[in-house]
Amino acid sequence: MLHDFLYGPWSWYVTGPAIGLVYFALYFVGKRFGVSGTMKAGCTMLGAGKKIDYFDFEWKKEIWNMMFAVGLVLGGVLGGIVFPNTMPMELAEPTIQVLEGYGLTSYNDGIVATEIFSWESLFTLKGFIFIVVGGFFVGFGSRYADGCTSGHAITGLANLELPSLVAVIGFFIGGLFVTHVLMDYIMNL
């Protein structure tokens, strides 16, 4: 029992409600659940507020956000290194067939798609698109939409806010387009 808890993997019906507890815990310490605000505060910390008014705020008031991000990193150490997940992942059979067509097999060994996300890959066109272009859109899009999965798909939806539903629909339009239209091209680069 304890072993399964520590080494996982957890089923969806354990993981999802646990995220709901995080949502509650943050309100209980006086904060609103949302991660991408750290990106804004990060720019401010690095001095962007001097040139761009959007970043001109007292980031020290948002320091909690950074502490939460530090915790997220440490949670990865705990869950990924101290108690690494049991492998392989149990992905859906049709997905596995597509992955094999792309030459991706690292799901057998770990949680990271190491064929794409590695230092060697970074210096290829394909890797650059996944790592650098992808990262850019995560940052740009979450600022433009004023929230990411946590702020909109969890916090906004749980508060029945229509703009969050619009944002989540947007997330899926973008994601479905990449996966169903662009992925074949990118993988063959």
């Binding site: 993997p9 999802g16 995220i19 507890l21 720019c43 949670g75 990262g135 940052g139 004023d146 703009p163």
Partner: protein
């Protein structure tokens, strides 16, 4: 001390994301291929449980740990920015296989190349801040 609370909640969240395989590009790929219930179950049940907490906090007029009333105002208003921004975010989510929370957690698991993804996301945020007055909202 107040910051320590947030580190601890962050650790819990990072651990949850790792055990549920939410931080895996493979799971996000599978979700957007709509071939598994895993991620939909996670997001759906997370929203359902959060909704219950939301209603409970509002109806009981609960106070937080410091004795302040928990205030849950309507946070967002508008339409255009959520649709366009959301679509652009979705492109990034499907490419990197990670939203901002998992990006930090992935670094902790030892996948250090995700530092580059975070750096690029910071640049994306910076560019948004620089050109936002020219964008439709």
């Amino acid at each position: 001390m107040k910051n320590l609370r947030l580190v601890i909640i962050g650790i819990a969240f990072g651990f949850i994301l790792t055990k549920g395989e939410v931080i895996s590009w493979y799971r996000i790929f599978e979700m957007f291929r709509v071939e598994s219930f895993h991620m939909y179950g996670i997001i759906g049940s997370a929203v359902a449980v959060s909704l219950i907490f939301n209603q409970w906090m509002k109806r009981s007029k609960m106070k937080d740990i410091d004795g302040k009333p928990i205030d849950i105002p309507t946070f967002y208003s508008g339409f255009t920015r959520y649709l366009i921004g959301g679509i652009l975010f979705g492109l990034g989510w499907a490419l990197t296989g990670a939203c901002p929370g998992p990006l930090y957690t992935l670094v902790g698991t030892g996948a250090l190349v995700f530092i580059v993804v975070i750096a690029s996301a910071l640049i994306g945020s910076l560019v948004y801040g620089a050109i936002r007055t020219k964008l439709p909202h």
